[in-house]
């Protein structure tokens, strides 16, 4: 009950490259699902492989990542996701 308040959002995509159906893919065309967690410090989104037949994600199949820090980058223009790889201290600042 003392957890940090967070907000979750998600968005589906048919693939990694923008296509005419990227905005609104039909269920059977969804191959990637981007899950976001938003805290008051940051937003982290990871785009996972998605299977529309059984509604599951493959957490090892990562198609992209986003990480924005609210204080220094409130407009979400500087993606620092890759800087969190390999145990960078940045990863400790956000889930």
């Amino acid at each position: 009950r003392k957890e940090t308040p967070v907000a979750f959002s998600q968005y589906p995509r048919p693939g990694d490259i923008p296509a005419p159906n990227s905005d609104l893919p039909l269920l059977q065309d969804i191959r990637v699902m981007g899950y976001s967690i938003r805290t008051d410090d940051c937003r982290c989104t990871v785009w996972f492989g998605f299977n529309p037949n059984n509604f599951t994600v493959d957490v090892k199949d990562i198609h992209g990542g986003e990480l924005y820090f609210e204080k220094s980058d409130p407009n979400e223009d500087h993606n620092r996701y890759n800087e969190t790889l390999h145990g960078s201290p940045l990863s400790k600042r956000c889930p």
Partner: protein, 426 residues
């Protein structure tokens, strides 16, 4: 602390379509929204409220069932949760089953397959949902172009008298909602009235006079109109719905990243803001009618939107992404006797404010800034009016008709006793 609950209150649930918090009460310096700001001044306002998916049907089914898209299994527009995921009790259905008369006016559920072509009637509503008759013209050629001909444009300020049926959908919805409020005053039954506005969803078809509020020279571009260098391509949405409108198609923009010419970017932003002021005026008329019907003293008013809309930030337009501008929404709760002092029937809280005569209020210091989610609407409204709060959903919950994946936000409200929110602005 005592929870701020007042049993038996009515609910007026107002939802706008594609409305990011471009409102005076959220600190927007340009947008004139004096009626929504007035509501905000009597409400708990959440500054960091987020939708669960930035597109209409999945977001609406999510907050109306209190479940996330992974539980409704609706990510597009093409399935009905009761047969596709689980036979979930909805927010209005819960009120209906607890003695409320429940009514839907305009776009509350997304129409079509995702609400069983019936707006989930009769499960959710006591009466068939009302849809304005002029809605069918929304995507037809009704916008007068420079060539004098009619087009299906993105930017479509109109002379309402020249429109088919001489009206617009949101005007009709407001008239119907006001008619219902007058009826509800007479029959004296607890009610849950949901009013869904179609704007500022595209096309920007709105009364031309609202353009005057936003001279083009005052309209800036987005502060960050370029696609960010390190944005993964999968995160980018190519805003196809804009490209298909005749006035945008005429630019022959390159796909997917080709920018819209700057002068047209300004015009899109201008018309978005004008559409917001148009909705604000209608919300003002609706709330004034709540006053006139002597229902403001015993009706909770919720104002929110299904999701936001990119206005050129990151080289993007429309919704369809996880950016804050697409997922963040306005969210405010007016609770008589909680966010305002206890009042008598007939007391006026929401006199209509003409946006052409009065500026907006800007900024609301001291308002709750916790991260909250639209999926929490269901338990919050249940608790505010004294209904049992739906239990937290187990995982998975496909077999559980009544539960919530959100949590009541009542903890952020002032404690009961008629305390007034300290708004810190005039």
């Amino acid at each position: 602390a005592q929870r701020p609950v007042r049993e038996g209150l009515n609910v007026l649930f107002v939802v706008a379509d594609d409305l990011r918090p471009a409102l005076g009460s959220y600190g927007d310096p340009l947008v004139r929204s004096p009626n929504i700001d007035q509501l905000a001044s009597r409400s708990v306002v959440f500054q960091n409220a987020f939708a669960q998916q930035a597109v209409c049907a999945p977001s609406r089914v999510s907050f109306l069932t209190g479940r996330r898209p992974d539980s409704t299994r609706l990510y597009d527009f093409n399935s009905y949760w009761r047969t596709h995921a689980g036979n979930y009790t909805t927010l209005p259905q819960y009120f209906k089953e607890n003695g409320y008369i429940t009514m839907s006016v305009g776009k509350v559920f997304h129409p079509g397959i995702s609400s069983n072509h019936s707006d989930d009637y009769p499960y959710s509503w006591s009466l068939p949902a009302f849809h304005p008759s002029s809605e069918k013209y929304e995507n037809t050629k009704v916008c007068r172009g420079r060539d004098g001909k009619l087009h299906a444009n993105l930017i479509c300020p109109v002379n309402v008298a020249e429109m088919p049926e001489a009206t617009l959908p949101d005007i009709q919805s407001t008239e119907e909602a006001i008619r219902l409020l007058k009826s509800l005053q007479r029959i004296k039954r607890k009610f849950f009235l949901a009013v869904g506005y179609h704007k500022p969803h595209i096309p920007f078809r709105y009364p031309r006079k609202f353009l005057k509020l936003y001279p083009l020279e005052n309209v800036t571009l987005a502060p960050d109109p370029a696609v960010p260098k390190k944005l993964p391509s999968v995160a980018y949405n190519p805003w196809m719905d804009l490209r298909r409108r005749e006035d945008v198609a005429a630019f022959n923009l390159s796909f997917p990243y080709g920018p819209i010419p700057e002068h047209f970017q300004r015009k899109i932003r201008q018309s978005y803001f004008a559409s917001v002021s148009y909705v604000d005026t209608l919300v003002g008329k609706l709330l004034n009618a709540l006053d006139e019907a002597e229902l403001s003293h015993n009706t909770v008013v919720v104002f929110t939107a299904d999701h936001g809309w990119s206005l050129g930030e990151h080289g993007e337009w429309a919704k369809y992404s996880n950016f804050d501008v697409a997922t963040r929404v306005p969210l405010m709760f007016y609770v008589p006797g909680v966010t305002t002092p206890i009042s008598d029937p007939g007391q006026k809280f929401f006199p209509f404010i003409d946006p052409f005569a009065q500026d907006s209020c800007s900024g609301l210091p001291g308002k709750p800034k916790e991260m909250v989610e639209l999926v929490s609407l269901f338990p919050t409204l249940a608790e505010l009016v004294g209904l049992a709060v739906p239990p937290v959903c187990p995982q998975p919950s496909f077999h559980v008709p009544l539960c919530s994946e959100g949590k009541s936000l009542v903890q952020y409200f002032p404690s009961s006793g008629g305390g007034q929110v300290n708004h810190g602005f005039k």
